[in-house]
Symmetry: C2
């Protein structure tokens, strides 16, 4: 069979792009920087969405929906926010087109100019806090625990499918609290939910930590991040949870009467995860044959491929295939019996490998005779012939094992690619030759951080569970009590 | 208790608006014509979405996601489409803001003008058919059965919460087929799904029929609609399914090689249902006490309110309440035990009536003593005292009965308000004095239709199951074989 993908070793970026296109996840659209998420890619997003939504609801959050458009002036209200956000965005200036009498086609109607331009939301803190203003009078109205599933737009100059697109899909949580403590706890709770989602569901280990002052969200007091390591040794920020203090409440004048009867500004958090996670999922696990999907996120968990010559062999195979399919379905496993006669088995094998279907069953005439079935697992590419009897239960526990195995493999990869560095030269060696996470002491100053940024790497986070130890900043030599993670990143 | 709502009889439009606001479904936002869908309203939308999504998937459809923005020139490609759609829309002309040095705040950066303006999608036929062009070569690539859940924007001058908003949420199906027959069958299948969804799930009876030439979708060969009757006697278009012929395939040059090896243009359908259905749900069933929600669409199906004086009475009540709650949950019924001590029982009763919770249980000390519970059903406002024993099963069948009863009531209302009219004067009498659907003969001409439109009413549809009979057009007196439905509409 012809090689479908550029290999990772040859060209990682090309491998990624090939894989996204050829496995049918997404493609570029006619609109610069905007992607089309194809059915298979969207099915993965639906799985992620369902799981996150369940986790959010379990912790007391509700969904709501706020406008796509934000009045331009709203962005100027929070001083840091405007610096970080409002610049590269889609601006709606008119509300009508008209027939172009001279050139044919359509033109913007100059009479339909908006008094104030509208920005297509790059994130919704401003419009939401402008709304919360009317919802909150007393501590009894708090907390507000709301999440929104939505599309957002940030005008990106260089885009890559899933990883950086002008329009993307995400969820954004926006909560309002009576006390700083409660808001800080919410910030940590949501970061922990992201960490758990990444590790248990996507099979991607994370380092949970604080962003530095210069890397935190525009308008936040504190940003928590989950940092993931990709197979090319670069970091990816998987989700962020922000403690916003009273910044947005002050900017939008959201006050409440507390239990003591005094007026105070409301405390806030926001947190988000995006379709970028599909990119992370691909880059964390996949190989040169195609996608490797952890069973929990796979739209199709098992595919059954019949192997036969001539139509008279087919009915007996189909009967067994359908029986196994029903058994699997009864156990809650998603399964597809690909009985198309327009494609050969070899083509189907390659196709489902490319699409990362965790388990493939093949059934031929001899399997029917011997009451066997051939099973191939996608993560290790191992094949086995097994009895049909009990195959569904076998697969059920195999899927659990594969979920675990895929995570373990990623965890081992991260261990192998996490380097403790104690000097500037050791850092450069990691960044230039080894890749991965460098664990280094840093003195906490912007000056030292900027020196690090000159290498094109950044401080990804200050790990929450990092151990205390005496050390010296690799830039300045000044004392430091904790290591940070430095890496090149997506 | 103070009356919360304006009564329907006093001012229907005000009643509707009061009800949407006070029951916490939605409110207007800072952006003209865009609403905020609040958690309770969004929970209803989630219920609708889940059910429709299930029905779409059951009939072989998959979800995908296409860009929010559409290049302006795309709209000019399909001649009728541009007439019907592209005029009142949000136009993105720039992609960057900058600091306004003179006046402070932000201004549009004149250097960041787009070469071609982008339109925020009012509907996605154009961008989707431009994409399908690359997906289809042969009949083997067909059918494409795709649905999208998305937000869309149509610049409306007069807006009303849910019923007509500048931005709204919807689903839009876009399918591609090898034959005209298959596409026509898909069009009817989806219209039937909408009809079933409306009747079985929302409890709103529909008339399924064809739109007239002048009322069909811009770019369609044929539009099927489901027409619903609201309690004020006005019609509401609940969902539409369009047979698009080869119009969009020709506009975007989407050709395929058919089984005979010949090139042909692809056949298309599109179909959509929107958050407007929440408006219909409210207007079809609710009363002067608040929402009346069919149990299937109610976010909370049962609420339990404890009635007690002093904290020593509470534990025994809570124990029974929690037991009943668990029993209901085990039967798949959503239930809330409102044990807040910040609100009185009377306040809670009114609140859940306003919110349309189908069943309310009240538990006081005497109920505990007698092992009883007081049950109130929202649709009839009846109250009963019942034994706690077996209450969960009782409620389960009661919810089914209520679902049926709410539909039946709406069906009876429609029967009472459907009038056969045989003269122009009889039509005017219905439109001016009675309201509801007028069933009248029409000669099929645009001239007669325009005369009808002069009354502010429209031909809502030509019912699919309308019986054949000899008649005369109420406008022209010319012969007609079938009655159409005429009504004022939302």
């Amino acid at each position: 069979m012809a090689k479908v993908l550029t290999s990772k070793e040859e060209n990682y970026a090309q491998w990624y792009n090939d894989l996204v296109l050829k496995s049918g996840l997404a493609e570029n659209s006619a609109v610069r920087g905007c992607m089309v998420i194809k059915p298979y890619g969207y099915a993965i997003w639906e799985k992620m969405k369902d799981e996150l939504d369940r986790m959010f609801k379990e912790t007391g959050h509700e969904n709501a929906y706020f406008p796509l458009f934000i009045p331009k002036s709203f962005f100027s209200r929070e001083a840091q926010h405007v610096e970080g956000f409002a610049k590269e965005c889609a601006v709606v200036t008119h509300y009508r087109l008209k027939t172009d009498e001279e050139n044919g086609g359509l033109m913007v109607d100059p009479d339909a100019k908006l008094e104030e331009e509208l920005i297509v939301r790059p994130t919704s803190e401003t419009i939401i806090w402008n709304t919360y203003k009317n919802w909150v009078q007393s501590y009894r109205d708090l907390p507000i625990l709301i999440n929104q599933w939505a599309n957002v737009v940030r005008w990106e100059m260089r885009t890559r499918l899933f990883l950086r697109t002008t329009e993307f899909l995400w969820q954004e949580g926006h909560t309002a609290h009576a006390t700083s403590k409660e808001a800080e706890e919410e910030t940590i709770q949501m970061a922990n939910i992201y960490a758990e989602f990444s590790e248990k569901f996507l099979g991607i280990p994370v380092v949970l930590g604080n962003k530095t002052e210069s890397e935190k969200f525009a308008g936040a007091v504190e940003t928590l991040t989950i940092e993931q390591l990709m197979q090319d040794g670069k970091a990816l920020q998987g989700g962020t949870s922000h403690f916003l203090g009273q910044n947005f409440a002050k900017a939008f004048d959201v006050q409440f009467t507390n239990k003591e009867g005094k007026l105070d500004h409301v405390w806030a958090t926001s947190w988000g995860m995006t379709t970028r996670m599909i990119g992370a999922l691909i880059m964390a696990h996949s190989d040169n044959n195609g996608l490797v999907l952890p069973p929990m996120v796979a739209p199709i968990q098992v595919v059954i491929v019949p192997i036969y010559r001539g139509n008279d062999q087919f009915p007996a195979i189909a009967e067994v295939a359908n029986r196994i399919k029903d058994q699997l379905k009864a156990l809650g496993i998603s399964v597809k019996f690909d009985d198309r006669d327009t494609q050969k088995p070899g083509w189907k094998f390659a196709e489902y490998e490319l699409k990362g279907v965790p388990v493939r069953l093949a059934l031929g005439p001899r399997d029917i005779e011997n009451e066997n079935v051939e099973l191939a697992r996608r993560d290790t590419l191992e094949k086995k012939v097994l009895p049909q009897e009990g195959i569904a239960e076998y697969i059920k526990s195999l899927l659990d094992e594969m979920q675990e195995n895929i995570y373990k493999k990623a965890l081992d990869f991260r261990s192998e690619n996490t380097h403790r560095v104690d000097t500037w030269d050791e850092l450069l060696d990691v960044l230039e030759n080894k890749g991965g996470f460098a664990l280094a002491h840093w003195d906490g100053t912007i000056e030292s951080e900027n020196k690090i940024k000159d290498t094109k790497a950044t401080i990804r986070c200050i790990p929450l569970d990092g151990e205390e130890e005496d050390g010296r900043c690799i830039v300045s030599g000044k004392p430091s009590r904790k290591r940070v993670i430095i890496a090149k990143a997506y």
